[in-house]
Amino acid sequence: MDGDVLLQAIASGLLIGMVYALISVGLTLIFGLMEIVNFAHGEFLMLAMYAAFFGRSLVGLDPMLSLPATVGLLFLLGVLTYRGIISRILHAPMLAQIFATFGLGLFLRGLAQFFWSPDFRSVEAPFLAGLSGGGVEVGSVSLGVPQSAAALLAGLAFLALYLFIDRSRTGLALQAVAEDRATATLMGINSDRMFALGWGLGAACVGLAGAVLATFYYIYPSVGVVFALIAYITVALGGFGSVPGALVAGLLVGLVEVVSPTLFGFSPAYKYAVVFGFYLAVVLVRPQGLFGRF
């Protein structure tokens, strides 16, 4: 096989892997904080993509311009989800918690289908398309500008998240609540506010991912389903609640997905089967995932 083709696959895999990592880190933040899995995560992604779509089609905003608003809206959605639903079922049985977010996801998907139809949409992204003609060549490898921008923004988001969690007072408080809620409250930390913040941040991450994904991926009501599935295994692979774990696992999943069809010469139609097989293989050896929490 051609070395250039392999290099191209590795580069593409890493780029999409950064997006997977960004989607997953939102999930892992929330889980690490309160051991609740947001089963509506994929629908949060879908809503962010539609936000980019409507920003363009209704107001004519470039997706890169509407991006801050999309991230802000998703932050708000995360906080509202916590305040309206999650805070009421914190002490409910686990199944109730699962079905609450699962139900929210189904509801949002149904809503999207009802109001916006099941059609596949796409967003023009003139700003990114205009940058160096929409593509960059690095040696023999050619990369799409939207994909590269997505990976770059995801990297910046990870950096910001790391600095926030590890260096800021609020970030330390988040970690304290994640480890021992009761003791954290003895320090004057309002754990309820930290939970709301965690949901806001988690949703903002997936919001950023959706806003950039919209520039190179179709938008439809169930677009979140596959991405959420990938996010669940990415989180499990990286270690539930681990931010660096989400980054490493996201890149790994992206690589496996794109490189393996190239390397072994099977149809890309089987790429998810390979990803899930890879996940199973890793998890059998290391059930706790690659990293510990936060």
């Binding site: 970690q175 009761a182 954290a184 320090m187 004057g188 930390i189 309002n190």
Partner: protein
């Protein structure tokens, strides 16, 4: 009176743990709360700091009612509770644990001074400042727990069994530190299994039995009482 507790009762999921606890803690005092395992000492502290809601009774701190207020607001009022078993944030460093201790707005203005104060009080923590708290010895962890409590700049410091599971050599050090903290003006409510040492230290002491305060007096009085001599000192 800095803290007044009157006829307090509390329960865990309907199972009563405290029946009738009344105690006073005066400004600047060291008050000891002693009692057998399971008597309700920890539950008393947890109820004062708001981790547990009282079923009945009154708690007043500087004249303000505490019963029913959330724990984070009670901390904000100036009560630091150093819990049994230390409960450090094990994945955070020593310094980060101390910073978390100063999270509350009341603590922020004095944060740097408080940090310097506790690192001077526990020089060993200065050496270990960037080590993860979970990797420290039991004695060092207790120092972090006390220091983290002091970071709040509390008017009242509640210590739950600070000498539990600590090397005997360090126990003396901990008691010396408690005395020093009190001398610097912080009021202390001390729960201890080391009955003799804590009664020697205490200005006033309460004896707790199956969820009720059954006796009180100066540390020396309680130490000399038949009740305590028989039950705890085996004399």
């Amino acid at each position: 009176m800095l803290l007044q507790v009157r006829h307090l009762s509390a329960a865990y999921a309907g199972v009563p743990a405290l029946h009738d606890v009344s105690l006073d803690v005066g400004e600047g005092q060291i008050v000891a709360l002693i009692g057998a395992n399971g008597a309700g000492k920890t539950t008393t502290l947890r109820t004062i700091s708001g981790l547990l809601r009282p079923e009945r009774g009154e708690i007043a701190f500087r004249g303000q009612r505490l019963a029913g207020q959330p724990a984070h607001r009670i901390a904000e009022l100036g009560i630091a509770h150093v819990p049994e078993g230390r409960r450090l944030f094990s994945r955070l460093t020593v310094r980060q644990n101390l910073l978390v201790g100063a999270h509350s707005p009341r603590a922020r203005a004095g944060e740097d001074a408080a940090m310097e104060r506790v690192l001077t009080m526990f020089p060993r923590l200065r050496e270990r400042a960037d080590q993860r708290a979970g990797t420290l010895s039991g004695g060092e962890q207790q120092m972090v727990a006390i220091a983290r409590g002091l970071m709040l700049g509390p008017a009242l410091l509640m210590l739950d069994e600070p000498s539990l599971g600590i090397a005997p050599k360090l126990v003396d050090e901990i008691f010396t530190t408690i005395r020093a903290i009190a001398r610097e003006g912080t009021t202390i409510l001390l729960v201890e299994q080391n009955v003799r040492e804590s009664l020697e230290l205490a200005d006033h002491a309460y004896v707790l039995q199956t969820g009720s305060t059954i006796a009180d007096g100066t540390g020396a009085e309680i130490l000399a009482s038949d009740l305590v001599r028989r039950a705890y000192l085996g004399i």
